[in-house]
Amino acid sequence: MEHTADWGLEVWAQDLPGLMEEAARGMFELMGVKVSEESRCHRQLEIGADDREQLLVSFLEELLFIADSEDLAFDGFLLNLVDTNLLARLEGGFIVSRTKEIKAVTYHYLEISETKRGLKTSIVFDV
């Protein structure tokens, strides 16, 4: 998505777990992340939020924090949702290289809307 100073991502999927997975994959793509195929790791996250937009931001922020602090990124996602509580089982590996830094996931005009084919949203990242 065009954005003067930062980066934006348009994401669509059939349901909310799908939307969150696509957003995560898109974010890692924007970061130019390459994940090691050796020594794979698994991680489980439990995240609760007040609404689904906040849940999406919190999930992506969690992934950014793990990437920044542990040099880990994920390419396997098993996401289960009960209301706005997420249980995420993730598979990934060490980051071999990444080309861009994302500082944060923003709430700028963030809205998850229904479409005929499922859900869509636009996310702006501070870079």
């Binding site: 930062d6 602090s69 080309t99 861009k100 944060a104 923003t106 700028h108």
Partner: protein, 483 residues
């Protein structure tokens, strides 16, 4: 949608968006721009975001927009908004994720002509000495106690650790530290991210640039700052790294609930805020000040590393290789200041996001040697174009809450820049212009190409034409180290 046709012209460089444009506006918007720059400004959502900023509870006077404005998230980059103490709000999104991102200028007596042949060595030395790039840590690994001290003391902590002089600290905005930093309001996550990143440049638009003083416009101010024509300077642009990003992230998240508790309605969730005198507002302000001090310390450590590299690369080739500090200013910050607003003297929290403080001569908060000339305002241009040293004026105190522009301002999206500009070709073009380039990644370099930015000279023409700043010197780049 706010349109250019909503603007009322006040003068050659000033425009107004009256409160009649949208029902939820609490104050008008004042835009500093030339007719030529308006085209770029109208091309993105900057003005809409400025109007959104006028809805912040407790906002007073006018929301100000600088000529380098461009679309951000929530609040425009190049925006200034003051909220009245004690019950006006503080908004993390109106300060930015990179809290106290700012610019430091160091200057020397080394003439470019003497050392022209070793610019490659100097660029490599700076690149090697100053850790940069995505997620990179530095040489310092702070323990909890040291991190807390850096957050309380800012530039002074770095000086006592051997990374600078008293003059450096004195020639830093606010003397290099904001009082009232509250480390207890900083999350465990922010601390974890902050410990290994002290003394690092980061990535994105952050840089270290070697520049030559190209032309002096104000002899007296340049003399006081120690700027001499044809001499080398070093400019450093960076902020509070992952420490500040995490603090802003934490509070933007927690303020999602705070706005509901305080009954605040906003047009954009990224503008979430809390009253300054509320427990939530106080907590963010304390944590934000800790991040501001971290950033002052970070630039102080980087200045020390840059000095070492400068001296090492040029020793034996020039007589005096010392770099003295001209000034260090923030351009993402929330500060408590006193201003004449709406006909009275008021204590306000000035949110500056992509805008600098620009106090005029005689105003408090300046080192003694700068009181007569006004506060130095550092305006980096895009890579390959000029940067400017300006000073604040009395008019900046009257018209712009003592604020000024912070750079050239983007005009092309990062995506478009990446698509249309080849990083390797750009590097070659810059080298042909005599600018040595060291960059972490070629796509990253392409995103920061000069063509993606407005003309910094046109931006400076506006702020000087409007009288909110005065030209002191123009600098031209000869070496660029990009994060």
């Amino acid at each position: 949608m706010v349109q250019l046709s909503d603007l009322k012209r006040l003068g050659p460089y000033e425009w107004k968006i009256p409160t009649s444009v949208r029902a939820d506006m609490r104050v008008p918007v004042r835009l500093f721009a030339s007719a030529e720059l308006l085209e770029a400004i109208g091309g993105d959502a900057s003005l809409e975001q400025a109007v959104n900023a006028t809805t912040l509870p407790g906002v007073v006077g006018e929301v100000l927009v600088m000529p380098d404005v461009h679309q951000g998230y929530g609040f425009p980059i190049g925006g200034v908004a003051a909220t009245e103490l004690p019950s006006g709000v503080i908004s993390p999104g109106a300060i930015g994720y990179d809290i106290n991102c700012g610019v430091r200028l160091l200057a020397s007596r080394v003439e470019f002509g003497e050392v022209k042949g070793v610019m490659n060595d100097l660029a490599s030395a700076l690149d090697a000495a100053c850790p940069s790039g995505v997620g990179k840590g530095g040489r310092l690994q702070l323990d909890e106690h040291e991190l807390e001290r850096a957050c309380r003391e800012g530039g002074e902590w770095a000086r006592r650790e051997g990374f600078g002089s008293e003059s450096d600290v004195a020639r830093t905005e606010e003397g290099g530290f904001l009082a009232g930093a509250d480390y207890s309001k900083v999350s465990r996550r922010a601390r974890e991210r902050g410990r290994p990143q002290m003394g690092t440049l980061g990535a994105g638009n952050h840089f270290i640039e070697v520049e030559v003083v190209d032309e002096v416009f104000d002899d007296e101010a340049a003399r006081v700052m120690g700027l001499s024509e044809d001499c080398l300077t070093v400019m450093i642009h960076c902020g509070s790294r992952g420490f500040g990003h995490q603090i802003c992230t934490d509070y933007v998240t927690s303020f999602q609930k705070a706005v509901q508790r305080h009954g605040i309605r906003l047009p954009d969730r990224e503008l979430v805020c809390a009253p300054l005198d509320s427990p939530e507002g106080q907590a963010y302000e304390g944590a934000m000040r800790a991040a501001a001090n971290y950033a002052f310390a970070n630039r102080q450590v980087l200045a020390h590393l840059a000095r070492e590299a400068f001296a090492k690369a040029l020793r034996g080739r020039a007589q005096n290789v010392h770099l003295h500090q001209v000034y260090d200013i923030a351009h993402n910050m929330g500060k408590t200041e006193e201003h004449e607003v709406d006909g009275g003297r008021r204590r306000v929290c000035v949110h500056r996001k992509g805008a600098t403080r620009a106090f005029g001569p005689g105003f408090g908060g300046l080192p003694p040697e700068y009181r007569a000339i006004g506060q130095p305002v550092l305006v980096p241009g895009s890579m390959g174009t000029a940067s400017w040293v300006l000073v604040g004026t009395e008019k900046s105190m009257e018209r712009s809450l003592g604020s000024c522009c912070h750079g050239a301002g983007r005009t092309m999206s990062r995506r478009k820049a990446k698509r249309s500009i080849n990083g390797s070709e750009l590097r070659r073009d810059l080298e042909e212009l005599g600018i040595k380039v060291r960059a972490g990644s070629m796509p990253g370099l392409a995103e920061e190409a000069p063509a993606a930015y407005k003309d910094v000279d046109a931006v400076v023409e506006v702020v000087t034409g409007a009288g909110i700043a005065k030209r002191v010197a123009r600098l031209r780049p000869v070496a660029v180290v990009k994060g």
